[in-house]
């Protein structure tokens, strides 16, 4: 019966040391998510989670959670985070270090850059099928707009709009620049 199904529901999944991350770039880091697709009981709870690990100077491009609030808890290392509200105001521009938590409300834009060799975090999200929208890089919302709409929207020449649409080949995690890599070595 139904109660037996509920009683034996799978309640555990490991995202901290998963050998198969959802997003991976050896030079930038990895991100793993658990949603109700991975752990069906989360559909009931309407929650999901994300675990991320960033290399030094790697960047998570500006993005926002479409349908969830998010609480980011730093596990290891430190990173610089910026969060922007709907008025374009910077509501957080600072370091997040191990043991601290930062709330990022739904639709607020956030970006992060790792300041230590390895910045690791877990983010709790208040939707079991959370989705993010990227504001930069491949498959970002800018990429998904027609070229002329981008040019008119940002008051750019068409060749500048092209650069905006195509210059960053990365999706979410951007590796450090060569100069930053050399400096940290």
């Amino acid at each position: 019966g139904l109660e037996e199904t509920v009683c034996t529901a799978k309640l555990r999944v490991n995202i901290g040391s998963s050998p198969s991350p959802d997003i991976y770039n050896p030079q930038a880091g990895r991100i793993n998510t658990v949603t109700s697709l991975d752990l069906p009981v989360l559909r009931w709870l309407k929650l999901s989670a994300e675990h991320g690990s960033l290399r030094k100077n790697a960047l998570i491009v500006p993005h926002y959670n479409r349908n969830a609030n998010s609480v980011i808890y730093a596990l290891k290392g430190r990173a610089r985070l910026q969060v922007v509200n709907c008025n374009g105001n910077t509501v957080f521009d600072g370091e997040l270090e191990a043991g601290r938590a930062l709330t990022v409300p739904q639709n607020y834009a956030v970006a992060a850059k790792s300041l230590s060799e390895r910045f690791t975090y877990v983010a709790f999200k208040t939707n079991d099928r959370d989705g993010i929208a990227r504001l930069a890089g491949t498959s970002s919302v800018i990429n998904d707009l027609p070229l002329d709409v981008v040019a008119a929207t940002f008051n750019l020449q068409r060749n500048e709009a092209r650069q905006l649409k195509s210059n960053n080949p990365f999706k979410l995690l951007v590796p450090p620049r060569e100069s930053e890599k050399r400096a940290s070595a």
Partner: protein
């Protein structure tokens, strides 16, 4: 929400009470703090787009339903993570190497009487390519479970530094003083170096993105000089067999709208 919000003894038919003019049109809003709207958990606005006016892309913290009262034009709703399914056609291989081929997500045509559904957090833009002004009534369902913020409708603009249509009520609600940067776009709060790294573009483009250029006071609706060139299939006229046949031919090869676009025809590949 406050108690007894829906204990309404009297209802009123309301007109919009706030008006923001832009270079290419007008946005009017009804006060979402009015008890009627608070009870229903919705916010209402009315947008007027003049010819060649583009409503700059924005997203909202709640789902929207838009009714087109008058006019017709183009709109796009960006579904984050979905593929760009509208592509410019290929030209000869030599020219192809040099030329940038644009691609983007689906673009739709709207006309009078249409309802447009916009999911929470999805980016919307609209454009009027006709002489008749477009008038669109938009309802934002702030009481939806998809909105995990408070009941204030919020617009997150990707560009410009215009006043937000619901910002005034946000201030009233929170008793908050006007901040120096209020009315800027979602990129303007990031530091330049973050954006330069994230987008891999120069400072000039970042400044434009952040609305720092001097002439950046055109508002949420801008005029597009010479009109937009968008990849769309030709519009179908009902009842015309010949045109339908032509459409069918063209639909296999969406072409870029404008003279320049008509020149090239795709090379057909027989390879697998």
């Amino acid at each position: 929400s406050q108690q007894n919000e829906c204990q309404l003894e009297r209802l009123d038919a309301l007109e919009p009470d706030n008006r923001i003019e832009s270079e290419g049109g007008l946005i009017e809003t009804w006060n979402p703090n009015n008890r009627q709207f608070r009870c229903a958990g919705v916010a209402l606005s009315r947008v007027t787009l003049q010819r060649n006016a583009l409503r700059r892309p924005y997203y909202s913290n709640a789902p929207q339903e838009i009714y087109i009262q008058q006019g017709n034009g183009y709109f796009g709703v960006v579904f984050p993570g979905c593929p760009e399914t509208f592509e410019e056609p290929q030209e000869s291989e030599q020219r192809e190497r040099r030329r940038y081929r644009d691609s983007h997500q689906k673009v739709n045509r709207f006309r009078e009487g249409d309802i447009i559904a916009v999911p929470t957090g999805n980016v919307l833009w609209m454009y009027n390519d006709q002489d008749t002004p477009v008038i669109a009534i938009s309802l934002t369902d702030t009481g939806s479970s998809n909105n995990q913020l408070d009941q204030i409708p919020r617009r997150f603009y990707l560009a410009g530094n215009q006043e937000q249509e619901f910002l005034r009520y946000q201030r009233e609600q929170g008793g908050k003083q006007e901040q120096e940067n209020d009315g800027n776009n979602i990129f303007s709060g990031f530091k330049r170096d973050f954006l330069e790294d994230a987008l891999n573009v120069n400072r000039h483009i970042v400044d434009r993105l952040q609305g720092r250029n001097e002439d950046e006071e055109k508002g949420a609706i801008v005029k597009v000089k010479g009109g937009l060139s968008i990849i769309t299939p030709p519009e179908r006229q009902r009842g015309s067999r010949q045109e339908e046949d032509e459409d069918e031919k063209e639909e296999r090869q969406p072409s870029r709208r404008r003279d320049e676009s008509q020149k090239g025809e795709s090379r057909r590949h027989g390879d697998n």
